[in-house]
């Protein structure tokens, strides 16, 4: 699936390989949960330095594109993991804001809304506790 990088292109080999992996995900050639070749396998197939493959996998893990499961290998992360926690929280905040606005329009005041939220969270907590 991966092409041998061009060492004389002026783009470092690790950057070329990162782009190839990203591209494979964007085009759907690789999807969440798919496993990438091991470090040695990838290095031998492309005839590049294994340290370069390590660098690529490590950087893509930090960027949330890959998940390294120790002893198992590198996997394409699920889309959820691709988004950072901050982005997720920002989206959630927006939903809460809109919901609160709706409730206010229905005539509920701040105190009532807060008590409803707290009651709901308490029930949810109890339910999850009972399930265990």
């Amino acid at each position: 699936m991966f092409r041998k990088p061009n060492p004389s292109s002026g783009v470092p080999i690790y950057v070329q390989l990162k782009e190839q992996i990203r591209h494979a995900i964007e085009t759907g050639a690789l999807s969440a949960g798919d496993q990438l070749p091991g470090i040695r396998g990838m290095a031998e197939t492309l005839v590049i330095n294994p340290n370069t493959v390590i660098k690529v996998y490590r950087e893509l893990e930090q960027e949330g594109v890959l998940e390294i499961r120790h002893g198992l290998g590198a996997f394409i992360a699920s889309r959820r993991r691709n988004r950072s926690k901050t982005e997720e929280l920002q989206d959630a905040q927006q939903s809460v804001r809109e919901f609160v606005e709706t409730l206010k329009k229905q005539g509920l005041d701040q105190g009532e809304i807060r008590r409803l939220f707290e009651a709901e969270l308490a029930t949810d907590f109890q339910r999850s506790f009972q399930r265990r």
Partner: protein, 296 residues
């Protein structure tokens, strides 16, 4: 990471001729380090000193912490290091199979898997006498003997000289496999393309001195050629700023090689009222030629 090879102010004189003039090398464990330089730059003399085959005139060096100029410690070095020499000298009277069996008997960590893989990939004729081998086949056999012995450090002097492109790719692939197993590789080469492909560090020497010591990625990311055209004539002394390695001014145009600091250099060129400025990446070959030209 620990240094596997280390030298401090290493020098070698042959009579009047100073072959190596104060080398400070450091090769990190697990890396693939390329050792570049013109013919006669001092590469082979350096390698021979590392392996205890030639005594340094002054300075010190160590491999895995063992001193290179101490006979007893040099023996320990040779147990841990595989070396494939430039001349690929082998016992001419033996057949391919005999020399493989003979060499194997000295090395308890011999890798039978590599031996079989290479016998096949290199299409080595087991029954053929070494005397009758072509230069390329002899090189392949010498590499097999080095690759299969199970070493911690592999030193190769021009490993792929005389090989066809297919065999070169096979050799590089074996190097990759060895590195994946934790072997450190130090190799001299004139094949710049193979260096760019597998090296993670580049050392370049000229006239016995280090002229470049940098990670491969840094070289690709930071070295740039900057070409500019000015309204009037410019001179080389207009371009003395940090990061500029080489200047060639011709009339209204200048061509610079920068090792770093590219943004400031471009800014400086703009201040000199350049009409057009081009910044292009450089290959290792262009850097090599630039370094050699700058010093001659």
């Amino acid at each position: 990471m620990a240094a596997v090879i280390e030298t401090v102010d290493l020098k070698k004189n042959f009579g009047e001729h100073e072959a190596v003039r104060g080398l400070n090398l450091s090769v990190q464990a697990g890396s693939v380090c390329a050792f570049l330089g013109r013919n006669g730059a001092g590469k082979t003399s350096t390698i021979k000193m590392l392996l205890g085959m030639v005594h340094p005139s002054s300075g010190t060096g160590s491999i895995f912490g063992h001193k290179i100029d101490n006979e007893k410690e040099s023996l320990l070095i040779r147990q841990k290091v595989a070396f494939v020499a430039e001349d690929k000298r082998l016992y001419d009277g033996m057949t391919v199979e005999q020399i493989v069996r003979f060499t194997k008997s000295f090395f308890p960590r011999w890798n039978d898997g590599f031996e079989r893989r290479l016998m096949e990939q290199f299409e080595l004729p087991p029954e053929r006498s070494i005397r009758q081998l072509s230069k390329g086949t002899r090189t392949k056999l010498a590499l097999l003997l080095g690759f299969a012995r199970g070493c911690e450090l592999l030193i190769l002097d021009e490993p792929t000289e005389g090989l066809d492109p297919g065999a070169i790719e096979d050799v590089l692939q074996i190097v990759v496999s060895l590195v994946a197993e934790g072997t450190t590789v130090f190799f001299s080469s004139h094949q710049i393309a193979e260096v760019e492909q597998i090296a993670d560090h580049v050392l370049m020497i000229d006239r016995g001195q280090l002229v470049l010591d940098a990670p491969m990625d840094q070289i690709t990311e930071q070295y740039r050629r900057i070409q500019a055209v000015f309204p009037g004539p410019v001179e080389e002394r207009d371009f003395r700023i940090a990061g500029i390695e080489n200047v060639r001014a011709e009339g209204k145009t200048v061509s610079l090689i920068a090792s770093h600091n590219v943004d400031s250099i471009v800014e400086h060129v703009r201040m000199l009222h350049a009409g057009s400025i081009d910044v292009v990446p450089l290959t290792l070959k262009e850097i090599f030629l630039g370094k050699m030209k700058a010093r001659s």
